[in-house]
Point group: C2
Chain length 155, copies 2
DNA sequence: TGGGTATCGTCAGTACACCAACGAATTCGA
DNA sequence: TCGAATTCGTTGGTGTACTGACGATACCCA
């Protein structure tokens, strides 16, 4: 009888939210390209020539995961990957023509899906929704990434 | 230049939120037991004797995933699994004594973690946060689970 | 200029999370 | 009562997502 109510647990809610989104994406956007793949493609359309690590940072994926996503995008012919002649450790990534076309097509569908997904909320609530989630996620990421210790007093 | 701003995409935010939660869970709650495992354990403490499918429904996991989670909980000796003598298709699940103890311990830590996780929000904002996410997730799950078609007119 | 350090990408291991297909058990219907 | 349809759990396949360890490359500095 000591069980807790999971509907007040942000982690559980986040998981359910993500799964619900996954299902809707699959039916309304694409069964081939996943949401993380689209995010990476989007980052490369915005900034062609990113290396893997930076691309991962842009969308919030670690080095291992971005490598797998890039590999799948490459397999589909949506992204090109070439060694950086200036720095042999890096791979430079850029979308292919096909990748740009796919990105354009999915952008339209994603916008439609987001409308359906957020339909339960008023426009004002949607703004709050984004703001609250972003603040919580940013703060939690900040706990992991000490970024600027500023004064870094105490210990 | 046709790239979109992902900070207004609920799917992307949901993923980031979940990852941020995952990291905090790992450092503040447990490196052994994951958040989904705790959710399942919690469901079994609340309702001992659930079968796998129903347990999965309680926490929002499909049959394949709940099977793996149960297998890990069983391997750790936290959950017992016996065939239902009334219905040979089912396995009845209940937490072991060790499982109950672990659940109790993690409940305390989880509460602490949630406080840290939600610290960027005021108490009022936290309420809104839960409400908005729950409404969006419920609605999206409803799209997949026609549950009660009621009148089901049109097509 | 050579060696220590840092960075990039990869690989192995673990854990969700979905779908589709399958066998076993049960239930429903003719 | 016997066969069809349903339900439960498993299996195989794909795709995130993290950690830790590793080799290759680059950088920094004595």
């Amino acid at each position: 009888m000591a069980a807790v109510d999971l509907t007040t647990h942000p982690g559980h809610l986040a998981r359910r939210l993500q799964q619900a989104h996954y299902l809707l994406w699959n039916t309304m956007v694409s069964e081939e390209i996943t949401s993380p793949q689209f995010a990476v493609l989007n980052a490369l359309v915005a900034e062609p020539g990113l290396d893997q690590r930076t691309a991962g940072e842009r969308v919030g994926l670690d080095r291992s995961t971005i490598a797998e996503v890039i590999s799948r995008l490459g397999r589909r012919g949506l992204v090109d990957k070439v060694r950086d002649p200036q720095d042999g450790r890096r791979f430079l990534l850029r979308p292919t023509d096909e990748g740009v076309r796919t990105h354009r097509k999915l952008t339209v569908r994603t916008a439609r899906m987001n409308q359906v997904f957020l339909a339960p909320l008023t426009a004002a609530e949607q703004t709050v929704f984004f703001d609250l989630i972003r603040r919580v996620a940013d703060a939690a990421e900040g706990l992991r990434n000490p970024a600027e210790p500023l004064v870094a007093q105490g210990g």
